[in-house]
Every structure is written in structure tokens, then in C-alpha cells.
């Protein structure tokens, strides 16, 4: 069990954390790992804070990650990285999308959006990687592909490049979006 690795995707409902973890799980399974993935549907998907969890290794029991045990956290939204930082393992990677979504609580003045997040996250975890996934995806033609850019970043961080990810994307993503996602993945791996 010691060889089990855990990746925590966090973000805002609707950002595409589920597709990213679906692609990741599929690739890891094809490579021969035991894989478990847990996602949340329903009310939480409506703009709330959401997590998707992926664990893989020789034999995985719990689909849920314990505190302090995530090898990587992929935050699709910047402040969400702070919310879940206590799940990060020693020397774990904190991959952060350089993208802010201000919740309605902030818009109406009931809450404050934290300042200088990038610097503060870097100070909190030395292995913090800021990825401008939203901008990269927008330049590729669709901001929705930011999830696959971030997937690329975590693949690189955990040294999983030897899995045939292109084949995974081709088998899961609808045909008209394959090209965009392949490019997003390659940008993410290089980011």
C-alpha cells in the first residue's frame, strides 16, 4: 500500500475537474495500475467548491485521500489551493491554475477574496507550480481546455509521461474536441 499515489483535484463546480480525473484514471488503468477515483455530482456542481480524487498503485482500498497524503494537488482555482493545502504530502506538488473565480459571497461584500495568493501559496509550499492554464487554453481557442492543460502539468510533475495519453484522449474525448485537447495536454506537459 505504501506505493499508492494520490492526486487531489480541487476547483469550482463546472470547471472540468471530473473530465481531467477521468482521463487520468483511464490512462493509469491502461498502464496496469489499480485505480480508484471519486467524484461529486449534484448540488455541489453548481458553482460550489468541488474535489475529485484519484488514487493509484498496486492495490488501492480507499477512494478518498487522507490529510497530508496527496502527492499532488491540482487547483483549478487559486483560492481553492489554500482551502485544501492541508491534504498535501511532504514534498508534494501544489499545481495552481493562475485563475480566480470570485464567489457570490465576495461579490456582495459578505466575504473577501485573499490577496497576493501566488506569493503566499509559494511561501506555504515550496513545491508550488503556477500554471497559466486558463490563458493557455484561451489561446488554443477554448478556455474549457484548461482542465487538460492542468492534467498535463500533473503528468509532468509525477513523471507519468511514458503513458500513452494521446490514445486516452482519443478514446474518451468527443471527436471534434480531440485536436484541441491533444494540444492542451502537450502545452500542459511543457508548462
Amino acid at each position: 500500500m505504501n506505493n499508492v499515489k494520490s492526486i487531489l483535484f480541487v476547483g469550482v463546480g463546472g470547471q472540468g475537474t471530473i473530465l481531467a480525473s477521468k482521463l487520468l484514471s483511464e490512462g493509469l488503468m491502461k498502464f496496469g495500475f489499480d485505480v480508484k477515483m471519486s467524484e461529486v455530482h449534484g448540488m455541489a456542481q453548481r458553482g460550489g467548491s468541488v474535489t475529485t480524487q484519484v488514487r493509484f498503485g498496486e492495490k488501492v482500498y480507499s477512494p478518498l485521500i487522507e490529510k497530508g497524503k496527496a502527492d499532488a494537488i491540482v487547483a483549478f482555482e487559486k483560492s481553492e489551493a489554500a482551502r485544501y493545502i492541508d491534504y498535501l504530502k511532504k514534498d508534494g506538488h501544489l499545481i495552481v491554475n493562475d485563475y480566480e473565480i470570485h464567489p457570490v459571497t465576495v461579490l456582495i461584500g459578505n466575504d473577501k477574496y485573499p490577496e497576493n495568493l501566488t506569493e503566499r501559496l509559494k511561501a506555504a509550499a515550496y513545491n508550488t507550480i503556477i500554471v497559466d492554464a486558463a490563458k493557455i487554453a484561451e489561446e488554443l481557442g477554448n478556455i474549457k481546455a484548461q482542465n487538460v492543460v492542468l492534467l498535463g502539468a500533473v503528468i509532468k510533475a509525477l513523471k507519468l509521461e511514458n503513458i500513452n495519453w494521446n490514445e486516452v484522449i482519443e478514446s474518451i474525448v468527443p471527436s471534434k474536441a480531440i485536436e484541441l485537447n491533444l494540444r492542451a495536454l502537450s502545452k500542459g506537459i511543457k508548462a
Partner: protein, 603 residues
Amino acid sequence: MINNHSVQNKECKGGIFMKVIMTGNEAMARGAYEAGCNIASAYPGTPSTEILENFATYEGVYAEWAPNEKIAFEVAAGASIGGARSITTMKHVGLNVAADPLFTMAYEGVNGGFVVVTADDPGMHSSQNEQDNRLYAPHAKVAMLEPSDSQECKDFMKIAFEISEKFDTLVLFRSTTRISHSKTIVELGEKEHTEVKPYVKNTEKYIMIPANARKKHYEVEGRLEALREYSNSSNLNKVELGNKNIGIITSGISYQYAKEVFGEDASYLKIGMSYPLPNKVIKDFANKVDKLYVIEENEPYLENAIKVMGINCIGKDLIPICGELNPDIIRKSILCEETKAVYTTDIMPPSRPPVLCPGCPHRGIFYVVSKYKDIISTSDIGCYTLGMMPPLNVADTVICMGASISGGIGIQKSNLMGHRNNKIFAFLGDSTFFHSGITGLINSVYNNSPIVTVILDNRITGMTGHQENPGTGRTLQGKPAPELDLEAIVLACGIKKENIKIVDPYKLKDTEDAVKEAYNSSEPYVIIAKQPCALIKEVQKKRANFKCVIDSEKCKRCKACLRTGCPALSFKNNVVSIDKNMCNGCELCKQVCKFDAIEKVGE
């Protein structure tokens, strides 16, 4: 659903079955298909919804969305009586709706195998209560199976159909959010060939008049004893001996969490058939270990049964009843080990509760009603529950499907007795109205309650992820179906024609006029707010280029637009702006702006 098609295409290569990664829901659907189940009926509800969506993609099966769980249960029950293997699936609270036929079908038994899936939601990710539906099995006196991963979801489903036919009982199949919505690896199997059994008229079995039911009750008790013997000999209940200092009895997802924490440092009795419980196996296991723990989520279901057997065990003294279980909690409760964070920060992330989406058609009417401070608004189960969130704050009560209208009637009666004048506005969606709102509306007419019922007709079942319903004009498979006429139904319930207003909630002025008239009405009144959900694919396509933009020269920073609560709006560095990636040009903010500072582009 994308996955499922690919599964079917590649399921068998040269006789060796493929391994695929599936959610528990996908695996339950696959299991039902492999078991030769060919009739399914359900009402959507998180976390159960995708079982039917996936089952419907298999060839040669019949699957339908029913208007509610009781109907779905009865359709599947009828299918079983007719001789077909059948299944009905629902979320935990759905089984409350279907509890009436559950208890009587437990007496009538089956012809074709009959499986009832209850998907519970510990932690209430998307539910109004945390009921543990394992308790239904002893109450209704039916067999119950509990899978702990997707492979078991598939395998146990096949066994469930066998048990159902062998013991002449419906089988309750209990999942939870983490079983239904976790993906684990599944080895696919072959589809069994099943024939629809002959239907033979048998009034003693299928007509539960008191004389028949009295006899049946004895049969049911006898059946439970036979099932208990089966449970004692079945490998659905498995002993895994490791370190015998600690023994753990557990089931479902709790088994995975327990293994994660204790690994080989404990012995396990993993319960897969959780009713009737295998009393001999439990006794035997308890004798083999020094200290016995029961690890289960929510209710002390196993623990109480084990204690009644006179066996000492530790369960809810340590493991909390409330909330979802996880390995952290088990580690802390039993081993007193606190999992420690390695990295911490003083950054305070803003609270981020779920909200109505940008461009959500519900926002318009909630915004208008929010201006009436004396209204009591009874809400219902669906996305529109989120009308309760600030800044809209429209919702005083939410109970269960359909209770907006009936609960609203009660508050109105109470207002009368208490000499209060607050107008009642009841909010519910189209699908919820069909589910169990119609009878409430009839009651408002029959017993003369001058409440306002607002049917938020967004042409889809929204919160559960866009399922068809009797009002959408399409079946579960997306095939054309008769489209129920909401206005005609409302009329037929007895609401007068002049007391029905159909408005487009994207049009603020029209909506304001309708709300004002309804507010002043002294008779039962219905507003149908008609505009499709902004997330429907065709709607997204149609509105893809519609955006609202703010002219910052004209903007006076009065923030009136922010009070619509639309997440596409933001106020950063003293500038109000609209996120073009989120905006769908619904124009609600444009209509509330007094300075003409918002413009719609991309016509």
C-alpha cells in the same frame, strides 16, 4: 455515458473479458444487463441517476424515466409480476416516496427477479437528510446486499437477481455516494440469457386483501429464516483473517476505509449481505478475535444487530453517527492518531457555496420576489433551492419533493388562524411539479388556499444533470414523446384561467407585473416561468455569442446589478465587470441597471 458505448464495443476480445474502469452506477447498470434484466424504471436523484442512464444504452432492454419513485417502483414491480427481470433505482429519500409499494411487494414476492437500488448520501453532498436506508430491509423484511466497489456492484447485482427468484423476494441493493460515484476497475462478464417467465394468474399471491396478506405474513417470516441460512453460507459475507488482536465487522465503503487504515494488522468480517445478517458467521468471527470493532457509516445498523446477539463490540462509542466516514476519522477514533497537515497557510479562502448558474432563468423571478419583504416563500427540491442564498434570500422552507405547495397551504392556514397577512409563494420546478406537486395544487384549489404557485418550467430535470421528464417531449433515450401541457394541467386542477400567468423570467417587466398581480390575488394563483435551463446544450449553442458588457464610463458603481447574485459579475478594484466566459446574455443585469451602463452584444 460516453464510456458505456466504448465498453460495449470492446467488451470481449477473443473470449477474454476486458477490464474497464467504471463508477459504481455504471457497474450496477452493467450487472443488471449481464443478469438479463430487461425492464427498468426510475426517477433521477443524486447519487443514483446514472444507473438508468447507463442501463438504457444497452441493447434489447426497456428503460424509462417515471414521474416519481413510487410510479417507477410500481412499474418495475408490475414487470416482475409479468415475468421479466426488472430493476428500479432511486436515491435514499426516493425510497420514502416508494415505501408504500415496497412494504406490500415484500409480501407479494416476485415472478421475474426484482431489484430495488437505494443510493444513500452520507455527508449529504446533494440531499436534504442523511437517512440510512439499510434500516428499510428489516422493516420491510426483504433481503439486502451491500457492494463495496464497482466490481461488487456488478457481481452482486447478478447475485441479487438470483436471490430474488430463488427466495421469491425483492432485493434491496444498497449503495452510497462513494460507491455510486467512485470509479474502480471492473472485469466485464457475459450477458445471461433470460426468458420472460410465463404470467400465471395467482390471486393469493398478487392480491393483498387482508385474508391473503395474513397468510403471506407467515410466509415472509419463514422466508427470512431461509434467507438467513443462505446468508450464513454465502460468500457474499467474507472473513479475512490477519492479526486476531483486532477484529473488524464492516460493510460497503466502510470496508475500504477500514482496510486503508488497518491493512493486515486486523482481521475482517466483510458483510456483503447485510439483511438477513449471517448470525453464525458473526458469532464465529467474534470468537476468533480479541477485540471487536464495528466500522460503519451513519446508523449503528450492524452494531445494534450484533449487540442483540449478545456479542460485545465497539462501534458508535468511537465512530460518529453524523456525516460521511473516511479513513481520517477511523484513524482518529480508533487509533487516536491525528492525521497531520504538513503544509498550512494563513490564507482564508472565501466561502464558496453552490449558487444559481450565470444566466439561470430562475434568477429573474427570484430577484423580483426578493423585493417583497413580507412574502413567505416555500421552496422545493431542485436547483431553485439555491434561491435561498444571498443576495436573493428567496426561500423560507424546503422539506421534500412537492412540499412547496402543500407546505405553503399549511402556512397559509396558519396565517389565517394567527391573523397574519403574509402572502405565500410556492416555488417548484417542472419535473418536481410532475413528481408530486400536482396533488398539492389540487388541494390548494379544493380547500381554497389563495397561495401563489410558481412553476419554474426550465424544460428539464436540472439539478441531477439534465434528465428528460413528461414535460420535455422526449424519453430517457431522447426519442419523441407527448409533451405534457403544463397550463392545461394547471387548468384541469381547477385554477381559473385568469389566475394563470405564463412569463419569460428573462423579461423583468413582464415578470414584475405577473408577481404583482399574483401578490394581490385573493384566489389560488399560478405563475409558469418558462425559459429553458441555461446549461442545456442547444441553449448554450444558441446563446454562445450573447454577452452583456459594462460601459465603465456610464457605470456609477451603484452595484444594483450585483444584487442579482449572478456569478458572472464581479467587482474588483472599484470596477464592475462581466466575465464573458460565464455570461450568456440573459440581460437581467441590463434590465436592473438604472444608468443604461450595460449593453448586450453578439445578437
